[in-house]
Symmetry: C2
Subunit: 257 residues, 2 copies
DNA sequence: CGACATATTGATGGTAGTCAAACCTGGTGG
DNA sequence: CCACCAGGTTTGACTACCATCAATATGTCG
């Protein structure tokens, strides 16, 4: 499980290049039914994706949010640095996920976002405007709201992991969560799926040390619960893992709190 | 620092009874300038507050969100229970804070909310409708958005606490954060302010054991950084505490990420 | 006063952090 | 082709933070 420049990377998967809107479309239509018109707008937005290398900041905490966007391929994460260099990752952005959409009025980023692999991104300014007109574009507006609610829900799960779970549970929980999210965009749960996370990244997300992440992953492998390869993982026993992690599959439909 | 049925409690502070909208008004107007009309609407919403005793659920995870509201007096918290009885508190609701406002379409609560003291609450259905019409009620709409962004920001801070800070830092950080929030609604930073949290509640928020919270609080007292009394605390050295906690005061104005 | 919740204290152990070194692996360049 | 390097992974030894268990105060309320 190590960083690979090509996992779902930009410029490597032909399927992605030919249909750059693929993941975004799957994700949004998984949240709400979209009209043909909305679909074509989504496709248009993805027409000329931007390519960004790994390790690049998409936006920076404290600075005005430049442009809202969507990840078409590749992974990124939202994070914050402490003054002494410690790092905390809040969540991961997978293909099809939205980022950089202001919540309040004056858009100042409360986190930074950094690419973990090469990514390709679409600007979503236009879609975002549409999503604010529920009357004209009900499907898009709904999908947008659900996407946002989902991200919020993941953040809550993250708090629970950090606050009340052991290292073993945390890792299981994260793997299952990512497994389900990947499942939603077309990577079947239980098969080998892309997981371009270094152990250091997992450590910074889960509030653990790299060493401990390593040992705990080994334990999961020894117990035949997971299997790793290059930059990908297979959840051999998704149910057992979910049990260990006290994982609750996200509700089928919209959500808030 | 122990639970007290009357800290800012319902029916005890005359100032609150006479001007039930006081805290909500301070909070909202601290986020955005409100017109006279908006002000009077806020006051009207608070005209007949509901009274709820301590330890009562305002809403429950997984159930439809009944009515959006605002806390006029008293404290509550948002939390989630794990299947084995462990508990994780996500954040605290202080006087003037909003709760139960749906993000997505179908309003299902992603957390539960429980009162920590007796509270009085106002229904905000009407204000919420207004906040959705930025053209007619720009101030309210803005204040609403900022309030929401602020809550989100607190959640991010909470993740950092849980993921990357020691018990000592976590407690300092929480106290400073609450100190600042109380300051914003009229309890001066550096003076004795209400803090009706049991050590168990702090433990469940900070991912620590009760025993360890107790010992860490004692350390802070020994070092003359804080002082406690009944259900209140005084941050003797707010700057030193902020330093310890790597606390960043929230940005003056709107925010998002 | 007695029942109950909360706070405090002591003793003990385990989970996870730290430090340090070795080991891969893929990429670079002589 | 191979030496070299950087980033990532793995291993071992040691430590410490914090959880757990248990018992005792302290306080509050009926």
């Amino acid at each position: 499980m190590k960083q690979s420049d090509m996992a779902i990377g930009a410029g490597s998967l032909r399927a992605v290049d030919r249909r750059p809107h693929e993941f975004l479309w799957r994700r949004l239509s998984g949240f709400a039914a979209l009209s043909d018109q909305e679909r074509s707008m989504v496709r248009q937005s993805c027409a000329a994706p931007g390519e960004v290398r790994a390790g690049v900041e998409l936006y920076v905490e404290g600075e005005p949010l430049a442009k809202p966007g969507a990840l078409l391929a590749g992974w990124a994460c939202r994070l914050r640095m402490l003054s002494d260099g410690r790092r905390q990752i809040f969540d991961f952005l997978l293909p099809g996920d939205l980022f950089g959409h202001p919540l309040g009025a004056a858009p100042v980023a409360t986190t930074s976002a950094v690419t973990l692999t090469p990514v390709s991104i679409a600007g979503t300014g236009c879609l975002w405007e549409m999503a604010r007109e529920p009357d004209r574009f009900p499907g898009l507006a709904c999908a947008w709201a659900v996407a946002q609610a989902r991200q919020e829900a993941c953040l809550l799960d993250h708090v629970v992991r950090l606050g009340r779970q052991t290292a073993y549970e945390r890792i299981a929980h994260l793997l299952v969560e990512l497994g389900h999210r990947l499942d939603e965009i077309g990577f079947p749960l239980g098969s080998f799926v892309p997981m371009p996370l270094t152990q250091e990244v997992m450590a910074d997300a889960l509030g653990l040390s790299v060493v401990h992440v390593n040992r705990t992953l080994q334990q999961l492998k020894r117990e035949r619960l997971i299997e790793t390869r290059a930059a990908s993982v297979r959840l051999i026993e998704p149910r057992a893992l979910a049990e260990i992690a006290d994982f609750r599959p996200p509700r089928r439909l919209p959500v808030s709190g």
